[in-house]
């Protein structure tokens, strides 16, 4: 870790390889295609390299890196939200999502992939912050306390946000004729 921080490229690459799996696992909750996953993982590690001189040994490296990853995931949701808002002619599927179904790789466990896909499509109707919150809570299984700490929100505000997000989701699927 110290060697990587001091500018040792080999140590840095070893650090990337050691944490790549955990980062990919977390970021996979945010995306639906392999290309997007590769982009987000690269973005996270590039942010890590840029921020490495500022990392202090008093905070666990893994936590610090996952914080970068969750922020990268939230930024991805924000970009998607902006793109969707300004798209002149959204290419929407029946689910209201912009991704064509054939673009999704069935994966090793097609049932799990399909379920994850369903949840991701449902959460795509929320605002980026709410989507991040429910993604981490429902798909990654993080407690609301941990999410609150991660983004610097109060626990009450996080609980309220989660409640509002669920209510909005429920309202959306009750009003939608395809639901």
């Amino acid at each position: 870790m110290r060697r990587a921080q001091a500018g040792d490229r080999e140590a840095l690459e070893a650090l990337v390889l050691r944490h790549e799996e955990a980062v990919a696992r977390l970021l996979w909750r945010f995306v639906r295609t392999r290309a997007d996953l590769d982009d987000l993982v690269q973005e996270t590690f590039l942010r890590m390299v840029r921020g490495l001189p500022g990392w202090r040994a008093d905070q666990p490296f893994g936590h610090w890196l996952l914080r970068i990853a969750t922020n990268a995931g939230r930024d991805y949701f924000r970009r998607q939200s902006v793109r969707r808002r300004w798209l002149v002619e959204p290419v929407a599927t029946a689910d209201g999502d912009v991704l064509a179904p054939e673009a999704v790789d069935p994966g090793a466990d097609p049932a799990a992939r399909a379920a994850a896909n369903d949840v991701k499509i449902m959460l795509a109707h929320l605002s980026p912050d709410e989507r991040t919150l429910l993604t981490l809570h429902h798909l990654e299984g993080w407690a609301l306390e941990r999410i609150a700490r991660q983004f610097g929100w109060t626990l009450t505000a996080t609980k309220l946000r989660a409640w509002r997000a669920r209510r909005r989701l429920r309202a959306h699927f009750q009003s939608s004729p395809s639901s």
């Binding site: 690459e13 590039l46 840029r50 379920a115 369903d118 949840v119 299984g141 639901s179």
Partner: protein, 101 residues
Amino acid sequence: MKKIPDSDSDAPWSVLLRAARADTPPPVDRGALLRAIRAESWPARSGWLAEFSRLFSPRTIVPACLGAAAMVALVTSWQLWDVWQSLPWAQLLGALNGGDV
């Protein structure tokens, strides 16, 4: 039929979530990742030298010098104006005292 997430204890929603959590990510393109890391320029050195260089970098030092020069010019012109204003009074005072200021 979409399952509506009523709460975590809602049965269809819980079943869907349990299945979704079992999903695993596809392998990451490790070669591209390492290439991107190698291509990234190394960040600034840490320590006092980096702090010093950051503090006196051209981006901050030029506006700081311009600001300081403007401040000096302002204070000097203010002082000159003050002296200029007080000169007729000094002459008047001199005349009142019979020429001895």
